[in-house]
């Protein structure tokens, strides 16, 4: 074989080996992704609670490689009570954090430089739930009943809901209860309970009780929930990184919603304690709150945001942006 044809063959071999990689790289993501040869960008996400179904979209994005495909190496940090996740982006410990709408509203009111990038929940996952046989189907049905509340926050949610539904809060007896134990509900000490759709009602169901949810959201209580925040410095300094993270996260949420059982198994790796049945029900409870008729997944509607911010709304510093959403125009 001549030298020329030998080198031609070698060149062909190189092309054959490299071509699929090049094609993959080209198809992987649009202009946003740099060459796969570079080491992925390390990013930290600080959650605002223990690992649970509320964050399932992020676990799925990590497990299904949506972050990796956008050249991101994401570390997800668990949160807990008493330590606002929002602080971690302000002091630079994390690039992104999850927060409640209330926290972000306060932060904006205090002129803190946090920007909401997406809202996982279109409908807040707050519920007033009762045993199905109690027949409580609306806040009006709570009149004269005892309702278990764990914290002042939930007492506020209860009162706000009652007021919106035209029921005097004084007609309902709020009974302080312990967060971990639903026994008072089962034994009739209380008629209803306030909690998160993906948590307490699921626990009751797993423990063999059929429950019925009343959503305060139907009465205008609560707004966006599960906000993804970043420091303004990050948003302005590394917009491409933010875009990649937001879009990969939204893809994770979309996948979780459409594949609840697979998402539950992924969630189980992070939060094995409650068991698979619990996590499957939890993800199924979260899904319709995330993929709701109001908007595409993760979207923040400017008008709705303005209404929710009410007096704290400042057009110069709205405290959110949808620029990085996949659905952004």
């Amino acid at each position: 074989m001549s030298l020329v044809s030998r080198s031609l063959l070698a060149a062909l071999a190189v092309v054959l080996v490299l071509a699929p990689a090049a094609v993959l790289a080209a198809c992987g993501n649009d202009s946003a992704s740099p060459s796969p040869a570079a080491s992925p960008d390390k990013v930290t996400l600080q959650l605002n609670w223990f690992h649970e179904a509320e964050f399932v979209g992020y676990y799925v994005a990590a497990a299904k490689g949506f972050y990796g495909a956008r050249d991101l190496d994401v570390t997800i940090l668990e949160g807990g009570p008493g330590e606002p996740a929002i602080d971690s982006v302000l002091d630079g410990r994390a690039d992104f954090a999850i927060s409640s709408f209330g926290e972000q509203r306060n932060a904006v009111a205090e002129d803190l430089p946090t920007v909401a990038l997406m809202s996982a929940f279109q409908i807040p996952p707050l519920v007033i739930f009762s045993l199905a046989e109690s027949g409580i189907a609306s806040p009006a049905d709570l009149a004269g009943k005892r309702v278990g509340v764990t914290t002042d926050y939930w007492k506020d949610v209860l009162d706000e809901t009652l007021q919106a539904a035209g029921v005097k809060p004084s007609r309902v007896t709020a009974i302080p209860v312990e967060a971990g134990d639903l026994e008072p509900l089962y034994d009739g000490t209380v008629d209803a309970w306030l909690g998160y759709a993906q948590d307490e009602p699921i626990r009751a169901e797993v423990e063999g009780h059929r429950v019925r949810n009343v959503f305060p959201a139907d009465y205008g209580v609560g707004g966006y929930e599960g906000l993804l925040l970043a420091d303004r410095q990050t948003v302005e300094g590394a917009p491409e990184l933010v875009r990649r993270f937001v879009q990969a996260s939204q893809q994770g949420w979309r996948y979780a919603v459409e594949h609840p059982d697979e998402a539950a198994r992924i969630l189980l790796d992070w939060a094995p304690e409650p068991g698979l049945e619990f996590q499957e029900l939890a993800v199924r409870a979260v899904a319709p709150l995330v993929d709701a008729p109001q908007a595409v997944i993760g979207w923040i509607d400017a008008e709705r945001w303005r209404l929710l911010m009410a007096d704290d709304f400042d057009p110069a510093n709205p405290g959110f942006t949808t620029l990085f959403s996949a659905a952004a125009p």
Binding site: A140, N213, D218, Y219, G220, E258, P288, P293, Q294
Partner: protein, 575 residues
């Protein structure tokens, strides 16, 4: 020998077979192929057409359902005074008697329409801020629904909210809404919440699409809205991501395609985007089932074509065999006749062209046999006349004079008597030879030395030329070789008698033991006039015949002669 050297394809049998098979197979393949292509396409088109008509039917039902929602909202407002009551609800202070009366009348009207028509599960009226002022579901009063599109859009005009999951009702619902109040400023929004049970029933209604055919609705977020036949797809957690649903939902297109269905099996699907409801209507049927009948028909066609081809090949082979076999038998018979078996005749078993050919062939050989026999008789008659009768005449003359010669001179008488004896033996030998010619089979039965001795005696008797026959008695070649050698010796001696004017001839037969084989060497020599070999063409003097005979047994024929030098013919045969 010659025939077997031909390439296979040159025989009539193979050529016919090839043409036949080509013809049949090509036809079968062409018919089967064209049928498959046309039938597959037609079947797919037919299935798509069927799905399209089903989809159209279902879409009309959906449209009329939507029309019913709108119409019923209008009916609610058609009552005299209802609009005034609704205005009162939005303006009057809670608790006012005027408001309570209006509330009761409105609720009554709502309940009447809802129960009478049965289309709406809930009829509600929202004030200008989206708060529910009246609802047939009392638990929903005071709800704040201002965030919903059916309120914001309903303030502006008629609106149908796409099917969505209602958390409080735990089911898929569709909300139709419209503004209340004339003259630009809307008082609020009248809304009717319908559940998807009736749409579900419409979609689930059988439409003659077999076991796997079904129609269902997919929402704008790909969520499955109506139930599927396949278990395991629960609303609201099931989503449909197929290329058909993608085209309809993401592309707002309508069309048809074959693609992997939601459960992974290949389906033929028709999809239509229904903009009023923002849903995709999917009509699908499993490809396997949809094309089952056609595929069966195609397989059958293929099998029949194959069978026909096989049958044609079998029949063709038989037919060709029935034509070619008698032909080759005839050829064989002709060959054997050419080899001397003149008594053979071809078998005639048929009444067709080949039968006629065989009949003609038999008539021809019969005629030739008669001709040959009559020529042979003529030759015998001539030989008898030429040889035996002359010899016998000489014998009778000699016998007549013998007594008198014997009386005069007993010594001369004795010599005449000896001559008489020789003549008689010659005549006898000639008679035997003629008998041999009359019965050729006897040639093979007589040993070569005897045959050669008879030849010698016959020549002596006929031509009075002394023939010295020297025989090696041990020589015993195979019958075919013996006959050929005899014929060569006969021909050579004929030449001696006719042309050589020889005084003496010698016939020698001996074994040629060269190479260790039991070969034979025959020599016929004379001292006659000889001839110039270059002047004599091979056809003359029977030389050609001798050469052919030698060649037929694979023997070597040598001829030595020159004018006035005599002639030697030598044949050497080795096995």
């Amino acid at each position: 020998m010659l025939r077997s050297r031909l390439p296979m394809s040159f025989t009539i049998r193979n050529r016919l077979l090839l043409y036949f098979v080509c013809l049949v197979v090509f036809t079968a393949v062409a018919i089967a192929g064209i049928t498959v292509v046309i039938a597959s396409r037609d079947a797919r088109e037919r299935v798509v057409g069927q799905l399209e008509s089903v989809a159209t039917l279902k879409q009309q039902q959906v449209d009329s359902w939507i029309g019913g929602l709108r119409l019923n909202l209008d009916i609610v407002l058609s009552e005299e005074g209802i609009e005034q009551d609704l205005r009162t609800l939005t303006r009057a202070a809670p608790g006012a008697a005027e408001r309570d009366a209006a509330y009761r009348r409105v609720l009554h009207r709502f309940s009447w329409v809802a129960t009478r028509v049965g289309l709406f599960e809930e009829l509600l009226f929202m004030g200008p801020e989206g708060e529910v002022l009246v609802s047939t579901d009392r638990g929903h009063e005071r709800q704040q629904l201002g965030m919903n599109d059916y309120f914001t859009e309903g303030m502006r005009g008629e609106f149908i909210q796409e099917p969505s999951w209602s958390l409080s009702l735990n089911k898929m619902t569709v909300v139709a809404s419209r503004p209340v109040g004339a003259g630009g400023e809307a008082l609020g929004v009248l809304a009717g919440r319908a559940n998807l049970d009736s749409l579900n029933a419409v979609m689930r209604g059988r439409a003659g699409l077999g076991q796997t055919g079904e129609t269902y609705l997919v929402g704008s977020n790909h969520r499955l809205l109506t139930e599927l036949r396949t278990a395991g797809y629960t609303i609201p957690n099931a989503y449909v991501r197929t290329s058909g649903a993608d085209a309809a939902v993401d592309g707002n297109e309508s069309g048809s395609a074959t693609y992997p269905g939601y459960a992974g099996q290949t389906v033929i699907g028709v999809y239509a985007w229904i903009p009023q409801l923002k849903v995709a209507l999917m009509a699908e049927q499993g490809e396997a089932e949809a094309l089952k009948a056609t595929r069966l028909a195609l397989w059958t066609t293929g099998a029949v074509a194959l069978l026909a081809a096989l049958l044609a090949i079998i029949i063709g082979t038989t037919l060709i065999h029935s034509i070619v076999r008698p032909l080759s038998e005839l050829g064989e018979t002709a060959g054997r006749i050419a080899d001397g078996e003149l008594d053979l005749s071809a078998r005639v078993k048929r009444d067709d062209e080949i039968g006629k050919l065989a009949g003609s062939f038999n008539r021809m050989t019969g005629r030739l046999r008669e001709l040959a026999a009559s020529k042979e008789r003529q030759r015998l008659a001539r030989d008898l006349h030429d040889a035996v009768s002359q010899t016998l005449f000489s014998i009778s003359l000699m016998a007549e004079v013998l007594p008198r010669v014997y009386e005069k001179d007993p010594a001369a008488g004795k010599q005449r008597l000896e001559e008489l004896r020789e003549l008689t033996r010659g005549a006898l030998a000639e008679m035997r030879m003629l008998l041999l010619e009359l019965r050729p089979a006897a040639l093979a039965e007589t040993s070569l030395p005897d045959l050669l001795r008879q030849l010698g005696e016959a020549v002596v008797g006929r031509a009075r030329i002394p023939v010295d026959v020297r025989i090696d008695e041990a020589v015993s070649p195979p019958p075919a070789v013996a006959v050929a050698l005899y014929r060569i010796a006969q021909e050579a001696l004929n030449n001696v008698v006719k042309h050589a004017a020889a005084g003496q001839a010698t016939v020698t037969l001996r074994g040629s033991t060269g190479d260790g084989h039991a070969g034979v060497e025959l020599t016929v020599a004379d001292d006659g006039c000889g001839f110039d070999i270059d002047d004599v063409r091979s056809g003359r003097l029977g030389l050609g015949i001798m050469a052919e005979r030698a060649e037929s047994i694979g023997a070597l024929l040598e001829l030595h002669s020159a004018p006035a030098q005599g002639t030697v013919v030598r044949v050497v045969w080795s096995p």
